[in-house]
């Protein structure tokens, strides 16, 4: 894995966390119960914390000079972001948010567990080791909600089944290997995505069956996030997130 590949691998980790953290932050003040408001913001805080670590590490690998986590978060254009399409999907209702979280958490947990164990890049291992603890709680939280909503009322069941059906087309992208994943696998930094998919399937199927939900068929999968080709909603999200640093170039906050 060369420098540029490592940098991109770290940017992906940071971008996944940043964009999902930003989406979850939109919930603050609007959740179904006060307790859940606090739970969702805790998850958002964990994710933005992970972002800061991964992006700072990625920023140290730019050949033209070190970039800060903030420069990477606020001054890159949409085409430069490499997050999964799944995490940028709008919040929708609480069920959409939980399904998005659940599908991602199961993946992110397995990925972080691997990165925490590898020795190719000890800094990344350190970040991932901390993240594993956090994501384990996120996954527990989203899994429990999947079961409550799936096996709750007829209304909640049909809502969350619909969310699952709608978001399923974004799950394929998690397991596609490109050059960066392959070099990451060779060096030991990144997991084997084929193997990881099997473990992900087990986790997902276990919870879906407890939730009395039907796993959707693997149809055509939407991809592009890793190449910087995002959904339309992403541009609006970025415009909102980046407005201040873009309006006041060079200012410090």
């Amino acid at each position: 894995m060369n420098n540029s590949q490592l940098k991109n691998a770290l940017l992906r980790l940071g971008d996944d966390a940043l964009i999902l953290g930003q989406r979850l932050a939109e919930w603050c003040g609007h959740a179904p119960a006060l307790e859940e408001d606090i739970a969702l913001t805790n998850i958002s805080l964990d994710l933005i914390g992970q972002t800061q670590s991964y992006l700072s590490l990625a920023g140290s690998l730019f050949e033209e000079g070190i970039k800060s986590d903030d420069e990477l978060a606020f001054l890159r254009s949409g085409r430069e972001f490499q997050n999964l399409l799944l995490v940028e999907q709008p919040n929708g209702d609480f069920g959409d948010t939980i399904v998005r979280q659940f599908l991602f958490d199961a993946f992110a947990l397995l990925r972080a567990e691997h990165i925490a164990q590898q020795s190719f890049n000890p800094e990344a291992a350190g970040i991932a080791a901390k993240a594993v603890k956090e994501i384990r709680y996120h996954f527990d939280h989203s899994s429990k909600w999947m079961v409550r909503l799936g096996d709750g009322t007829p209304e909640s069941h049909s809502r969350v089944q619909k969310s699952l059906n709608d978001l399923w087309k974004f799950t394929g992208e998690m397991f596609i290997s490109d050059e960066i994943d392959r070099s990451g696998l060779e060096s030991g930094l990144l997991p084997n995505l084929e193997e990881l998919k099997k473990e992900w399937d087990v986790k997902i199927d276990d919870i879906l069956s407890k939730a009395t939900l039907v796993r959707p068929e693997d149809g055509f999968m939407q991809t592009g996030g890793r190449k910087g080709i995002h959904t339309e909603a992403f541009g609006f999200m970025l415009a909102e997130m980046q407005i201040l640093p873009r309006t006041h170039p060079g200012a410090s906050w």
Binding site: L18, Q22, A25, E26, C28, G29, H30, A31, P32, A33, L34, E35, E36, D37, I38, T41, N42, S44, L45, I48, G49, T51, Q52, L55, D69, D70, A73, F74, D93, F94, G95, V147, R148, L149, D151, G152, T153, E155, S156, R159, E240, M241, I243, L244, P245, H248, G250, A251, S252, W253
Partner: protein
């Protein structure tokens, strides 16, 4: 009031006068219970509605560090609302009923949150001034006669100590910045200064609840005393970073050892209080929407809990 009631009332007053604490199951006069329920729930509503003007800027925070700080701060407010609803519930009311009163517009919350947050500097001004005034109001409540309220407030005050500091630190950073940033900071101070002084309520000569509440140790200092403290504390902080307080009548008074300051616009105060503030409707609509949108989720969780119980 019959003779027993009267005796109990006398004992209660004497007990409270000795600065002793009342706990949930102790006998208490109806008026005391009602006052506390009203005050604690209003306070809880203020925390929850207070999440909105700042929550507004979380997604636009200008750095990742500012984003997590603001997120943690607004999250604390949800926590504080929760602690306070908990304290109110020890008096025999249900949080759901209190929230219904907020959503229907029957219950009040602090009018300050009916002002809009227009720029990033408002996050500075709100933390520094609005939280500053709130802390000034709240610290004496840590010694209030009702135990659960006093304990909740102790926790709130401990957690809020970073809120005001993060606000001032935003202002400090802006004042060290570009001309646009400095203008933004001054503009935010101009807009938030008077509303934050209004937070202490009507002046003492027009305050209806004060004297009984003082006797019951629910309130320990008058509105005007606390307001004066806030002015005295804040003016030097503003000067230190080059901000100008928007009050032509403000001047140091050697004789009193306090700042003299101008008259509050009580017409505006009463208007915002009675629902004519710039954001009264938006705030209640946002709370109602969150509540309505979440109904199916709350029901589902309960239905699932019931099913699980039957299975066990």
């Amino acid at each position: 009031m019959n003779a027993t009631q009267e005796k109990l009332r006398e004992e209660f007053d004497a007990y409270v006068a000795k600065d002793k604490k009342i706990e949930p199951k102790d006998w208490m006069p109806d008026g005391y219970r009602k006052t506390l329920i009203r005050q604690i729930s209003q306070h809880a509503h203020s925390e929850v509605v207070g999440m909105l003007p700042e929550g507004n800027w979380i997604t636009r925070a200008p750095s990742l560090q500012r984003k997590v700080i603001l997120l943690a701060k607004v999250q604390d407010e949800a926590g504080h609302g929760l602690y306070l609803y908990s304290a109110a519930e020890t008096l025999g009311v249900d949080r759901a009923d209190l929230i219904d009163d907020l959503l229907s517009g029957k219950a009040k919350y602090s009018s300050i949150f009916n002002y809009p947050s227009l720029t990033w500097a408002d996050m500075g001004a709100i933390g520094w001034l609005v939280d500053g005034s709130a802390i000034m109001n709240q610290v004496p409540l840590c010694r209030c006669s009702y135990g659960p309220y006093a304990r909740a407030m102790t926790r709130v005050c401990r957690e809020e100590s970073f809120h005001q500091r993060q606000g001032y630190s935003i202002m400090m950073e802006l004042m060290k910045g570009t001309k646009d940033q400095i203008d933004m900071a001054q503009d935010a101070l101009n807009r938030w200064w008077w509303p934050s002084l209004m937070m202490f309520g009507p002046s003492d000569k027009n305050s209806t609840h004060s004297s009984q509440n003082m006797k019951w140790n629910i309130k320990r200092f008058s509105n005007d005393e606390l307001r004066q403290r806030m002015v005295d504390m804040t003016v030097p902080q503003a000067e230190l970073i080059g901000l100008k307080i928007p009050d032509p009548d403000l001047k140091w008074n050697e004789d009193t050892g306090h700042y003299d300051f101008g008259e509050i616009d009580w017409v505006e105060f009463n208007n915002v209080l009675s629902g004519n503030g710039p954001c009264n409707n938006e705030r209640l609509e946002a709370r109602n929407k969150a509540h309505d949108d979440g109904a199916w989720v709350r029901e589902a969780a309960l239905a699932y809990a019931e099913k699980k119980k039957t299975k066990e």
